[in-house]
Amino acid sequence: MLFREPETAALEALLFVAKNPLSAELLGEILELDVLKIEELLHELRNRYKGDSCGLKLLDINGAYILGTKPEVARYIEILYKQPSHALSNAALEVLSIIAYKQPVTRGEVDFIRGVQSDRALATLVEKGLVKDVGRKDGPGRPILYSTTEQFLLHFGLSSLDDMPNLEEVGLDSEDEAASALE
């Protein structure tokens, strides 16, 4: 256990910097040790990483070795690297709501309803996979038609667009008034 310490250190360092898994043969060549000895040192490393306070792990990939992280710590790594997802802007929400209610719809139609340009908000929605291009509208310029995606339905727990609250049912005050007057 106490001998071969420098070689164990070198072995660990090699497995640490390796870009691809290293075979026991290659490790043996570099460290000038026979493969059996390498296997022994690898075993020692594997044991060392077993402790709960250790976040590293010896990965054996088709008989070649490399250091990796334990699955238990994966979520922290995700936090480190995940792009903080920015909440959708008000403009994007407005565009999304219009598309949800009146799909398929063109950008020009969305612009008209909102009374302002919606190109940037629309691009964000497409990029985030909430809205997609579903074809082109007949007529001059053949503008692109947009609809919501499955991801949109999934998020709101809707199995289809028919499950969307009805614009007529949810009601606007003035609109309710108007509707009741009508009945």
């Binding site: 959708l88 929400l93 407005e94 139609e109 309803i113 985030k128 609250p165 007529e168 609109e175 108007a178």
Partner: protein
């Protein structure tokens, strides 16, 4: 000359420049850097360059420049000094002083370089990993951009659109008698579209002026004529109800 015998010890490619060579010669002579025996050192310097053999032209030039400087200082020192030539005296001191300063500065950094070299061997040469972030995240689902968003928030966004249409900001900011028919046309159509279950004609009025009513009515007539809006009046005295038709969505082509 005696000094020439010491010169061949010098292994020239090891010199990192003329200052390095000069410094080495001074150290070999074991003389104070502030009190360089210029005549002797200059000769040694020139001799060393002579022994260098073919070298990189630029490097050779740099050695020659310093050699010339040394020889110049040497010649000044050897010349008998005219008693009243104070300016010459000052100039000579200045040249020597400048050389000493450059040597001192160079020596300092040469020593620093040696310390860095020692550090490089003792504590440095640590390697870090080359991290493949994309690979790390390959199995991670991208975060839901709708995370934390309730349906209510989406609905509120829609209500904001409706409110804005109701307010008709561009209408309010214009004097009623300036309301252009096409502005009013878009405004009326937008509001009718947002009331799929119908809205009363009088709801279109915001200001209530006669001009507004006339322009709104003209806009409505045009929308009725183009078939984008449908009007209903159940009884003679009840309100006129306005509904969007399928054709209401054909406005973009006109824009």
């Amino acid at each position: 000359m005696e000094s020439q015998k010491t010169v061949p010890q010098v292994e020239l490619p090891a010199y990192k420049g003329p200052l390095d060579l000069l410094l080495t010669l001074i150290q070999q002579e074991k003389v104070d850097i502030y009190d360089i025996p210029i005549a002797r050192i200059a000769d040694q310097f020139v001799e060393a360059i002579r022994n260098m053999g073919p070298m990189d032209m630029e490097v050779t030039t740099e050695f020659l420049v310093l050699a010339a400087q040394l020889l110049y200082i040497k010649s000044r020192e050897l010349l008998p000094k005219p008693p009243k030539d104070e300016q010459g005296q000052v100039e000579e001191e200045g040249l020597r002083q400048e050389l000493v300063e450059r040597l001192l500065a160079y020596r300092t950094f040469k020593q620093a370089a040696q310390e860095l070299e020692a550090l490089e061997t003792s504590s440095g040469r640590s390697y870090c990993r080359e991290v493949d972030v994309e690979g790390l995240l390959a199995n991670v689902e991208p975060e839901d951009p709708l995370k934390g968003l309730s349906f209510d928030a989406l609905w509120q966004a829609f209500c904001r659109v409706i409110e804005r249409a109701e307010k008709g900001e561009e209408i309010h900011h214009v004097e009623p008698d300036e309301i252009a028919i096409d502005v009013m046309l878009a405004d009326v159509l937008r509001r009718v579209i947002l009331h799929p279950k119908g809205m009363r004609f009088y709801q279109l009025m915001r200001i209530g002026s006669r001009m507004e009513m006339v322009v709104s009515f003209l806009a409505l007539l045009e929308l009725l004529q183009s078939g984008k809006v449908r009007a209903e009046q159940l009884t003679l005295l009840s309100d006129i109800m306005l509904f969007p038709t399928k054709k209401a969505w054909e406005f973009t082509e006109e824009e």
